[in-house]
Structure formats: C-alpha cells, structure tokens
C-alpha cells in the first residue's frame, strides 16, 4: 500500500506542461467567452447524441435540441438501415420539420405547407410543385449533419468542413475502451437536471475525487476511503490531447455491506458495489484500470465504467450560466424480478450522490460572478480540471 509521501504531486510530475498556477474563473461567467465556446468548441467537435438502441427499426427517429449549436438535430434510421443525422429544418421556409421527440415514419411531412422527405432526408413531395421555378428536389433535401457511430454511441459534428473522423477524434479513448461490453448493457435509466450553472463548473464537480470524502460523506465515501491514505488518490490519471481519464481504486467490501445492498448484489451490479470493486453478481470482464474509470470525452460527454454497469453524462450548455445535465445508467436487460430490483436499487444509490454533486453546482455559479475571487486553486488530484480548462482555452484561442 502506498504511503502519503510517495502519493503527492504525482500527476503534476507526470504532466509538467500543465504547470501549477491558479486557473482563471472568468471563462465560467463571461457571456462573450461562452459565445466563443459555442462557435469554436461545440460547433466544431464530435458530440454524442444517443445510442443505436434508440433506433432499432427502419424509420425510427428522434430529435435532440442542441441549443448550444443553435439547432435541432434529427437522427433517423433509414429504410436502408443506415443511421443519419440532419438539421431538423424544412428546405422551403425553414420551419422545424419534426416537433415530436421521437417516433417512427415512412416519410416526414412539414406541418406548414406539406413538403415531404423520406427517411434518407431526400425531398420526395412538394404540393403544387409546378408553381415553383424549376425546383430541383435533389438539391433541396434536408441539410445533413456529419454522423458517425462508435461502440453503438451516435455522434454528430455540426462542422460541415470537419476533416477528422469520429475515430480519429476519439484517438486513444477508442483504443483503450475496446472490449468494454457496451453492447450488453443496453437497459438504461435517465435523470435530467436543468441547472443554473456554467457547463464547465458542472463537469469539474464530477471529474475529481478530492470532494468525495467531504461532499459524499453520507454516500460514496466508503467506496474509496482507506485508513492508510487519508485523502482520495486516483489509481491513474491519463490526459490526452483533448480527452482524459481518471481511475479510482475501490476498497472492496472492507467497509462492510448493508443488508439491502447485499440483497441487491445477489442479482447484479450495484453502484456502490461496482465502484468499490466488491463482490456482486453479473461481473463482466472489462478493460478497467481501477474499479471505476471516469472517461471525459471532450467537450461534454462522460463515460464512467465499472464491471457490469456504466453511466454516462451529456452536459448541454444552454447559456453561460445555464446547463442541462443528462445522466444515464446502463445495465443488462433484466431477466427477472431480482435483477430488476437490483437495478432499481443501483439507480437510487447513484441518484443520491448525484444530488449531492448537484447541490454545489448552482451555489458555485451564484458566487463566481461576484468577482471576489479571480482564480481557482487546483491541487494535484484536480489536474483533470486544469487539463479541461486548458483544452477549452486552446480551442477558444486557436479556433481548432
């Protein structure tokens, strides 16, 4: 077991180029900075908008409102089974084509004048067509958005000139997550939180373990606490060009397991059991570094993997101080009441710590604008935050 002495400042030594200076607060409360993030980060990167299981059949579609990109995106599985994405906008007068959040169709008709598109986005019907002026149906389909799939995750890129493929963009993340059974954990629960907070503050509150023993003293603390290491220490931190990962090592069952938890673990992975690496049913061999690996895929997507369960965050900025936090936790489709109980229990024990996390988001934002402090003081274990702010600043400065 490592001691406190050799567990200090190790990440800053591993990544010395990030330095150790305090980090400016202004990018978290400046509307002008937010507009640059909108144009230079969110309209130019690959954004996760869901999973293939949401579109099992030809003609299935769903809509994602991407306010940060000032658009609404229609994601659809065509009759040819291919998944494509489009701006959800009629070519005639610009009306939003689909108003429902999801559905199945043979074709989609605009409610304004009845222009009709097939499931591949082609314009196939124009009422009173002869009254137009040599209207070319071919050139007036829905405007396509770049759409690629990795491990069942559907990503879009709003930049029509984006040269990087999704796989190139993900880089080592795709390489290192290879082999994780995303295709088996296809039953998920969702939480949405609409919060008055900058998107980076929200993400920052999630991507370090320093807060765990304090903020989560009633919930998660036992998963990672150890008598020989008084403070939280990551097992590993890996920083890539844009993305990052922190791995937490769990305490197993040394801190004890409650009776309800024991019952739930008989049927599957619970949040606490999986995070701490204890004993439970339904473990699936996984490419993990710790017991709980937290992957941040730039800019706003998080995949947190454990053995037998994982959860994701999609963090959608709405304004400089307003963010929609979408949480999904994934399990194998339950085969019996026991497994269903286990998942309901796991869901609740994830919800409670997330509420604790959420409790600080708005409190932080409400004080940042005061100008009382100009910088954040990050410690070594918060190097992931330092990295995150630097990557955003690089994009905002260079526009790439």
């Amino acid at each position: 077991m490592p001691t406190a002495d050799d567990k200090e400042l190790i990440w800053t030594k591993k990544y010395p180029e990030l330095g150790s200076a305090p980090v400016p607060i202004e990018p978290c409360c400046s509307p002008a900075y937010f507009e640059l993030e909108r144009e230079r980060v969110f309209r130019r990167t690959w954004l996760n908008v869901g999973r293939v299981e949401e579109l099992p059949n030809p003609g299935d579609y769903y809509v994602r409102e991407l306010a940060v990109c000032r658009t609404s995106v229609l994601v659809m599985r065509g009759r040819d089974r291919k998944i494509s994405a489009f701006h959800n906008m009629c070519s005639h007068r610009g009306n939003k084509l689909v108003w429902e959040s999801k559905g199945n169709c043979r074709a989609l008709t605009c409610k304004f004048h009845g222009w009709t598109y097939d499931t591949s986005g082609r314009l196939i019907g124009v009422p009173d067509e002869k009254n137009f002026f040599n209207l070319k149906k071919d050139g007036n389909g829905l405007t396509a958005v770049k759409c690629e799939i990795w491990q069942g995750f559907i990503f879009v890129n709003l930049d029509p000139d984006a040269s990087e493929s999704l796989l190139e963009y993900l880089g080592e993340v795709a390489e290192q997550l290879k082999g994780y059974p995303f295709d088996k954990l296809t039953s998920w629960y969702t939480y949405h939180a609409d919060e008055r907070v900058n998107w980076k503050i929200l993400l920052d509150a999630q991507q370090e373990g320093y807060h765990v023993p304090i903020l989560h003293r009633r919930t998660f603390v036992k998963a990672f606490e150890s008598e020989s290491i008084p403070y939280y220490r990551s097992v590993d931190v890996r920083l890539f060009r844009r993305h990052r990962m922190l791995a937490a090592g769990g305490t197993g069952d040394r801190q004890g397991v409650s009776p309800v938890e024991t019952l739930a673990r008989r049927y599957g992975a619970t949040t606490f059991g999986a995070m701490s690496g204890g004993d439970y049913a339904g473990k699936v061999d996984s490419p993990l570094t710790g017991t709980f690996d937290f992957w941040v895929i730039f800019p706003n997507f998080v995949i947190a993997i454990m053995e037998g369960t994982y959860f994701t965050y999609n963090i959608w900025p709405l304004a400089v101080d307003h963010t929609l936090w979408e949480v999904r936790s994934y399990y194998p489709p339950p085969r019996n009441a026991g497994e269903r109980f286990s998942q309901e229990y796991a869901k609740c024990t994830l919800r409670d710590p997330l509420l604790e996390d959420g409790s600080v988001h708005e409190a932080i934002q409400s004080t940042l604008a005061s100008g009382a402090k100009t910088h954040f003081n990050f410690q070594d274990e918060e190097i992931t935050l330092r990295h995150g702010h630097k990557v955003v600043a690089d994009y905002v400065r260079d526009g790439k």
Binding site: K96, W99, F112, P127, N131, N140
Partner: protein, 221 residues
C-alpha cells in the same frame, strides 16, 4: 361592423416570419386541413391560387377564392343560418352594386376574402360580413407582439350570438395553427443550415415584402 373578438400574444419569432405566415395561401391546404378543410381546395384550383395579387407601392393585396361546393358540417349549417363565418361566402351583406373596386377586384363569383398588407406591419382582410386585422409589433429581433381583431355585425339575437361564437372558434383554431409554425421556424433559422427561402409563385408577396424592406434599409452589410 364593430369589434367582435380577438387574440393577442407575444411570439418568439421575428416580426417578418409572423407577417409572412399571413401573406400567402399556399399553407392553407395543408396547415389548415383540419379547420378550413375543403373551403381551401376546389375543382380546378386545388391549392387555393389567388384570384389576384397586386402591389400598391410598398403595400400589397391578395384576393382569395373559396370552394363554392364546400360541404358544411351540421353545427356549421346551424351557424350559417344566422350569420357569418370564415367558411361562408354568400351572406349578402355587401351590396354588389356598391362594392368598392378594391374589394373582390376581379368580381369573381367564388371570392372569399381579400388581404391588404399595409406596409410595414398592418394587415386588413375584408370578408362579406366581417373584417379582420392583424398588428405585428416587433419587440426584438426574435420577439413579436401580435394582435388579431375580428370585426363583425353586432349580433341581435341568440341565433346570431351562436353564429358568432361558432365563427370565433373556427378563427381561434385556424390562428393557433398559424402560430404553431412561427416559433419553430425562428428556432431553426439561426442554425445556418439553410440560407435562403425557396418561394413559389403564390408566395410572391413574401418576395415583394423583403424587396420593399431591403430598398428602404439600403445597404446594411
């Protein structure tokens, strides 16, 4: 005629988007299929092509026909026994001998109503037995306050009251359909996915409106 009923509200859209939705009839056949139905589509004129369109300096006028073979539903038949609705063409309130030359200018037998667009933001539509106005007030680039007023022959008995209430409900539903596209259009315009409107012949008033505005604003680039 005097004020009968109306609606007003703030819309999250540019004022021109709101005006555009009231200066072409191309949308009527599809958007209003559940409310106006067969009054908008007739033999030889499935898409409610205008009887006439005239530009009057910065203003413009559209004269529109209705389907004379329109089949009123039972409640509508009762209402029409006592008064006007947007689906009624033969009230006989207007005296053909004294008709101003700008009302049903082509003297078409299937005339339903005219729309006058008084530049920049006033809309006036005479029918036989009622007239309607819209005031479009821009509040911001993407916010508009719209007021709709319907002026009617004041009802004198219960039958005429019923008729007016019926007319009001059809109008309300039709206007709600009109409003339904405005905010969703505005929302998508900012995406940059498309940079032009594709207009057909019957939407020429939209074209005229933007040209008139452009000429007044001059170069703003």
């Amino acid at each position: 005629m005097s004020f009968g009923y109306g609606y007003k509200g703030t819309l999250n859209c540019n004022w021109k988007i709101a005006v555009d939705s009231q200066q072409e009839a191309y949308h009527a056949v599809y958007l209003h299929r559940r409310t106006l139905g067969d009054i908008c589509s007739m033999k030889g004129n499935r898409f409610m092509h205008a009887l006439d369109i005239r530009f009057l300096g910065p203003h413009r006028m559209i004269s529109l026909p209705g389907n004379q073979k329109h089949r009123p539903k039972p409640a509508e038949q009762v209402a029409h026994r006592f008064g006007w609705s947007i689906k009624r063409q033969d009230l006989g309130f207007l005296n053909p001998a004294e008709l101003p030359k700008g009302i049903n200018p082509t003297r078409a037998p299937d005339w339903l109503f005219d729309i006058y667009l008084i530049f920049p933001n006033f809309w006036l539509a005479p029918f036989d037995g009622a007239f309607q106005t819209h005031n479009f007030w821009p509040l911001a680039l993407d916010r508009t306050y719209q007021e709709i007023k319907m002026y009617v022959i004041p009802p004198r008995d219960a039958g005429q009251c019923f008729s007016m209430e019926f007319a009001k409900c059809i109008n309300r539903d039709t206007w709600l359909e009109d409003f339904s596209t405005l905010e969703s259009t505005q929302e998508m315009l900012g995406s940059g996915a498309k940079d032009h409107f594709v207009l057909q012949d019957e939407e020429i008033c939209v074209r005229h409106f933007y040209k008139t505005l452009d000429e007044r604003i001059g170069s703003h680039a």
